[in-house]
Structure formats: C-alpha cells, structure tokens
Amino acid sequence: MSDFDLTKARETARPMPQLARQGFEARALKSGLLTGLTWLAALLAAVPLISVMYLLLVKGGSRLFGADFAEVLTGLPPAGFELGGGIGPAIVGTLVMVGIASVISIPIGILAAIYLGVLEPRSRLANTSRFLAKVLTGFPSIMAGVFVYAVLVIHWGYSAWAGGIALAVLMLRTVVLAAEEAIAQVPQRMKDAAYGMGCTRTQVIWKVVLPTGLPGILTGVLLAVAGAAGESAPLLFTALFSNYFISELSEPTASLSILIYNFSGMPFPNQIELAWTASLVLVLIVLMFNILARLIGQPKV
C-alpha cells in the first residue's frame, strides 16, 4: 500500500512528523559542541587585547591618572635613583618622527595609489610596483631600520630624520595598498559621469575619485600612522634615544617604544613604573588612531 493512499485518513496512513528538537541526539550534541567551540575561540581572540589593557591600566594607570600626571607627561626621564620624572621627550619624539614619516609617506603613497588605481592600473610599472608593495607588507620592520642605518645613519649619525624615514618605509606599503583599494572601489559609472560632464582626467581624479575614496584612504593612512607609532625595531638603528626634549631633527631622539625597552630592563622601581606608564600611553595613542580610522571609514548615509 502506498504512503499516499488517499482513501484513508492521513493520521492512519503515515506517522505524524516529529518536529520537536531531540536534545541528546548525536547530531544535536555535535552541533552544540561546535557552537560552543566557536564561541570560545571568539572569546579567546579578545583575550590578548583585554588582558594587555588590564595589565597596563593596573601597572601604569596609577602613575598616568595619579596626582603627578602632568609631570609624567611633560617631565624628563629620571636618572638612576631619582624619583618622579616623566616621559615627555619620548612622547614628543614619537609624535615628531611619526609626523616626519607621515609627511613623506602619505603624499607619495596616495600619488602612487592614483597611478595604480586610475591612471595605468594594468601597466607593467603598476603591476611591478603593486607586487613590491605587497612583498613589503611581509618585510620585517627591523630591516627598515637596518636599511636606513646603512644608507643614512652611517654618514650623518642618529637623528629624528633617520627615524622618520625608517617609519616612512614601513608606512608607505600600507598607505599605497589601502589608498589603491579605496580608489579602485570608486564606481566606473561615477568616473563616466564626470567624463561625460567634460572633466579632464585631472579633474575626474581631484573632484570625483579622491573625494569619493577619501574615507577609505584616511582609514588606511590612520592605520599606517598607528602602526608606525608603535614600531620600535626600526628606531633602534636610526633615532637611538635621548633623555632630553628634541631641539633639532638631526640629533638622536627619544621615542616611547625605545623608552619602554630601556626602562623595563633597569633595576629601579621608578623606571620600571614609568615603562609601564609609557606602554599605556603608547597603546592609548595607537588605539586612538585605530578608533579614529574606524569612525572615518564608516559609510555616511
């Protein structure tokens, strides 16, 4: 007798389908287990940042948010057994060198991205240049320091310039690739519209492509800045360190990351505490750029 015997009532012909969840079926158990694992993995991925932030706030927060925060942010680093002191020169030095790196890498990076994204996307030069920028992404950051050391520092000594240039080498790849991506995403029909209005190629780039791609470009730029602010290896070979505020760009310059490296190895509690504080300040600076990048990158309605 067929399942579809229409002469009988349905209930007697076929069993009622069971739709309720069977709690301890093997399939349901496996599904629950895997869901739990992904949940755990997602949690683990958040652990490093949260625990580092927690540690930094506990160890460095007391000094940064304490009564003498002004001295910490503006004071000179303390000597041997001296108490108090601050990380002012390192903050200024980091900002100055990141500034130099930005002034060098952002214009070059965006202009290169215009070439790669709009002018000659498929030319041999563009393909080579894009490939090299991608290779540079996996380039160890210390090599940027060694390179600038060999080319500049040997002749002219340690300086903020050298530090800035080393950071610029590292920023360039991020700026180029992010800006090219942003520029390539400007729809062809918007460019067509501009050409159809009688725009020259320069006007299309200035008035349509760059303004439309700007959020993406700025996101890339800010991520590059954040990355450069946290670099230590390239500065080791190029800017070295200084205990004083920067007075000339051609002299050794303090930076937060090198200060952390120096002070954390010292046997004095005051210096070690300042290293923690400097770490917190550095992470806050990097975090600020990252959050800014996210805010700017969000599409505006």
């Binding site: 029909r189 918007m190 067509d192 519209a193 159809g196 209005m197 009688g198 303004p211």
Partner: protein, 274 residues
C-alpha cells in the same frame, strides 16, 4: 535570405527634415581588431529626439557614445568616419574631447550621481566651468526643469545617493542640463527605472527637446514610439562569423513602426527576429 542580412548592405540615407546638429557618418568603428559597427549614416536633428533601437550588440550604444567621444576612454577604440558638429569634425585632429563633452552632454543607463550633496551634484558642472553668476538660481532652474525641484527643495544638502532610483536619474539629468549643453545623449536612461519613474523621465525628455537636441538609445520600442521623432534601427550581422552592427533603416518614428521599408525592421518591431 533578405538583402539586409548581407554584410554589404548599406541603409538608404535618411534625408533630414530640420537642421542637422550632429551629422554622424560611421565608416568603421573598431575595438582592437573587432569591427563593432560599419557604414551607418545617422543625422541628429535639432530640437528633436532621435531614438536608436535594435537588438543587443547591434552597436547603437557604441554609435551614441562616439558622438561625444566617450569611447575615447576605451584604449582600443578606433573611429573611422566623421561626426560633424556645427561644421566641425568632433574627431578632427585639433579637437579636445573634453570640450566636446561640455557641449554634448550624457545621461547614462545606471543613475550615477556623485557621492556628494544634491546641490553639489547639480552645481558640479557649473563649478567646473567656473560659472560666475548666481549658482543657487541655476541649480534651482536645472532641478525644476528636471521635474525634481519640488521633491528635493528641502533637502538639497542630503547626499545624491540617498534618493530613489528614478529621482537619482532625474538628478543626473538636472546635472547634465545645468551647464546648458547643446545636445544630450541618453544611453538607455530608463532601463534601471520602474514604470512610474520611466514615465516621469519620458515626460521630461519631451519637455527638454524644446531647448535641447536629444539622442536616445532604448531597448524599449514602446518608449521609442512614445518619445522619439526620428528612429534609427540598427541590427547585427552574425551570418559571417563576426558581430558587426550597422544601420538598417532610419526615418520618422511613425514610418519606421507603421511602414518599415526593410524586412529586418518589420521582423524586429513585430518581435519576429531570429
């Protein structure tokens, strides 16, 4: 096998009635080695709407985009022939294609407003030409002519991309006419729009032809009968292995649709094309 299917067929030239603004004579249009369009004479008459119809791949968009040198943006594009615009060949050696496009504007298939405010979209071309007069007034006038002013007058600062598809297309038309071009080329301007928006754009076209000259590519034959004064029917010749488009017949719209001379035209408009 009728005459028009042979690769040597050339349409009878259409004797224009009014003043011809653009006299387009295509000998050959190539993309690289590929012959896209051959032997087509398409005069565009002043203050009229010239409709281009035909099956996909027949080269009607290619011909339209050749009129203001939009195809120059495609590197392998090559045009043989002439496009006489007020006595000057648009493809002449000294002609700047950028200037051509300021006189011969374009509206595209997909609405393509810039990602900026409604006001800035319309003012774009005026600013481009360093317009010195009252910008607000010109923007309003262009939006009024594009039948969009009442819908957007309270939100000129909103993004052009926030509008609906039909509004975006009318915004693009407003942007194109703000600089008062002489000729407006429209490449399937309604294919991305719903019937209501299509109706609005069609009414707009009929209104615009009082001041401008329009050329319109459309897949929609009813649209051609509704708005076009003159219709050019293109077809594509695939019998010899290539895909070369050519003009089959051009004439007053009523004649093309009611008494076509060519069998191919008759088949196409009655839906019997192979």
């Amino acid at each position: 096998m009728n005459a028009a299917a042979e690769s040597t067929f050339v349409a009878d030239p259409y004797a224009a009635v009014g003043e011809v603004v653009i006299d387009c004579q295509v000998n050959k249009i190539f993309y690289g080695d590929f012959l896209a369009v051959r032997d087509s004479l398409v005069p565009i008459e002043q203050h009229k709407i010239t409709g281009f119809i035909g099956p996909s791949g027949c080269g009607k968009s290619t011909v339209l985009r050749s009129l203001n040198r939009m195809n120059d943006l495609i590197q392998v594009f090559r045009f043989e022939g002439s496009v006489m615009y007020h006595g000057q060949d648009v493809y002449g050696p000294k002609v700047d294609p950028v200037l051509v496009r300021r006189y011969i504007g374009m509206v595209f298939q997909q609405p393509n407003p810039f990602s900026m405010s409604i006001y800035d979209n319309v003012a774009f071309g005026l600013r481009l030409n360093r317009f010195k007069g009252d910008l607000d007034e010109r923007v309003q006038k262009a939006l009024e002519r594009a039948a969009l002013w009442n819908e957007v007058k309270d939100k000129l600062k909103n993004s052009g991309l926030s509008l609906s598809g039909g509004q975006q297309q009318r915004l693009c038309i407003a942007r194109a006419i703000a600089t008062e071009p002489d000729v407006l080329l429209m490449d399937e301007p309604c294919s991305a729009l719903d019937p209501i928006a299509t109706r609005q754009v069609e009414e707009l076209m009929l209104d615009l032809k009082k001041n401008y000259t329009l050329a319109l590519v459309t897949h929609n034959m009813q649209q051609a009968t509704r708005v076009a004064d003159t219709t050019a029917f293109f077809s594509v010749d695939i019998s010899h292995g290539g895909r070369t488009g050519y003009l089959v017949e051009m004439g007053p719209t009523a004649q093309i649709f009611e008494a076509p001379r060519e069998q191919l035209t008759k088949d196409y408009i009655s839906g019997q094309f192979s």
